[in-house]
Point group: C2
Chain length 343, copies 2
């Protein structure tokens, strides 16, 4: 099960047993870059398999998760999602009412986000061959109209190499912003599933962030952006650090965490920085724009707790956190999966 | 389980409990047209969930099936596939060797077809939550460079309305061609799974048909094209008939069927016309081009048994087959799934 996490075991599974068998090509953003989406012939393309358990949880369900996760993966590349596909594998005997509730959620989030589901596939397998249902969404996107202006503004501060907001594009000195409290989705889901009771105070943060991201790019100065799903912030920062070959210096006190998530994590022995989110992004931007970007983000209900949590720094070759008590702690990506089947 | 078939129960599941919840848009080929792929902003887009059991079967495996099925769905629209995504859900405890054999197959077919896998997702679920593995592939395509020339040639015979090879584009008098023997995939798989022994004589026909389709379009005169997967030829012809509002007149004697498939179907009480294929297309074309197209197809090892099997005709409002003995039989789409989990 550890292989299913966003952390090191998953990286190993993919890098040793999956990716080496696939011939890669020189796409604008190819498979081997392991970004949130690939980009080929100007089309941004991503896919996500959703196996969340239970199907319905505080703040969302497998339908909203599928729509939002895919939209966010496209958007963090600096692209506008234009269409989704939806493939479902259903267990024989699944209540039609359950299916319809999921479809209603997919429809509502598609409507809300303005991104249509244009194609799909449905398979029914015998009872026991799948746990209720699996939803796999893919999406297409095209370059966000503000992306080049965004890079021009970033270029006033430093030379910015890339055409897209890829993981290898963080530069020394870039500010690191997160869009809100961390771990809400994973802890709400775990707590609800296991009956711990924290879910009365915490809901999943599942949300489509493409409009928020569009407004941030219109302001400008962003160099990279990531969707902090599996493996949480710890995984995100480590991917940036290794792909951009730059260390990160994070301030523990500046990291927004909901008090109930903090309590739950303390009680359960979990690290909120490794817990998956479904409506939270991390942004790297030139330092001159960081304050303006956070101010803009806080206007949105989807990012009202946005905060600058640190900076990229060549002084370090790892992700390092200044702790509350003044010490330093290295933030590694999670090894296994602290909370399985949350997405 | 019947809902999982390509036939009427599946149509009902989709049209009553899935599609009505999804807001649709005026894409070039939208969701509501239920074509093999959707087309939006000039991008052809499709998705397929693969739940085949067993994972490895005579002539193929879940890997080759996933690659070819998706490539073919793009190609029959009159498009060239440019990239695929691959999302997998793996059961905890699945042998790494099994995973690697599937990946090797995906890699080989990707290499063979020249279509790269550019993005993916992998989830691991606990033992029992999925039967070994599910593979969901999506793909992108762009208009085939020969498509407009193809339509120009068709237009010399009759007014051809559409820009793509959609299901609603078959005209009165169009010739109907199938690319080879029907039912090989479904019968090979069923026979192997159940130990009937026919699989010594029959293999799955799984194959990527994009190059064959490209050469046919270069010749020209095609009005519509379909991938004869779930529900087989019976489903394909009925979809054409209802969407193009034209009857079909088919000659039983002209339908290519492998003798072992015919024997197996007789013994098992199955109709080969309703059995799924994974490397067979149906083509509607202007009658003037039909002989040339079949002659060209027969040069390819993937279509050496290509045959004209009948014509579209306003004289009928159903799919009607002239039987071997001179009678007439109505071909309905299959109601349930004659052979479950073949794709």
């Amino acid at each position: 099960m550890g292989h299913g996490a966003g952390g090191e075991m998953m990286q190993e599974l993919i890098s040793k047993h999956i990716a080496p068998f696939l011939p890669d090509i020189d796409a604008e953003v190819p498979l081997r870059s392991f970004d949130d989406s690939a980009i080929i012939d100007g089309v941004v393309f991503t896919t996500d398999a959703h196996t969340v358990k239970p199907l319905f949880f505080p703040g969302g369900d497998i339908g909203s998760l599928s729509v939002c996760g895919t939209i966010n993966d496209i958007s963090v590349m600096g692209a506008c999602p234009i269409a989704m596909s939806c493939a479902m594998v259903l267990e024989e005997g699944l209540e039609i009412d359950t299916l319809e509730r999921v479809m209603q959620s997919i429809g509502q989030y598609s409507e809300l986000s303005g991104i249509p589901v244009v194609t799909g596939d449905t398979k029914v397998v015998e009872s026991g061959a799948v746990d209720q249902m699996i939803v796999v969404t893919s999406a297409l996107g095209k370059e966000c109209p503000y992306l080049q202006k965004n890079f021009e503004i970033a270029s006033q501060s430093r030379k910015v190499a890339n055409r897209w907001l890829t993981d290898d594009n963080v530069g020394d000195g870039d500010a690191i912003i997160v869009s809100g409290t961390l771990g809400d989705h994973g802890i709400a889901l775990l707590s609800f599933r296991e009956g711990y009771g924290f879910e009365s105070a915490i809901k999943s943060d599942v949300a489509p962030l493409h409009r928020l991201i569009g407004s941030i790019l219109e302001l400008g100065g962003v160099t990279s952006m990531k969707d902090m799903t599996r493996g949480g912030m710890a995984n995100t920062l480590n991917e940036w650090s290794s792909k951009s070959r730059v260390g990160m210096e994070i301030e523990e006190l500046s990291i927004p965490i909901h008090p109930a998530v903090a309590s739950a994590c303390e009680l359960l022995g979990l690290d909120p920085l490794t817990i998956g989110n479904e409506g939270k992004i991390a942004i790297a931007c030139v330092p001159e724009m960081a304050e303006d970007i956070v101010r803009l983000m806080r206007i949105s209900p989807l990012a009202k707790n946005a905060a600058i949590i640190g900076r990229a720094s060549k002084k370090f070759d790892r992700v390092v956190m200044k702790t509350e008590v003044g010490g330093r702690r290295i933030i590694d990506p999670p090894v296994g999966d602290p909370v399985p089947r949350i997405c």
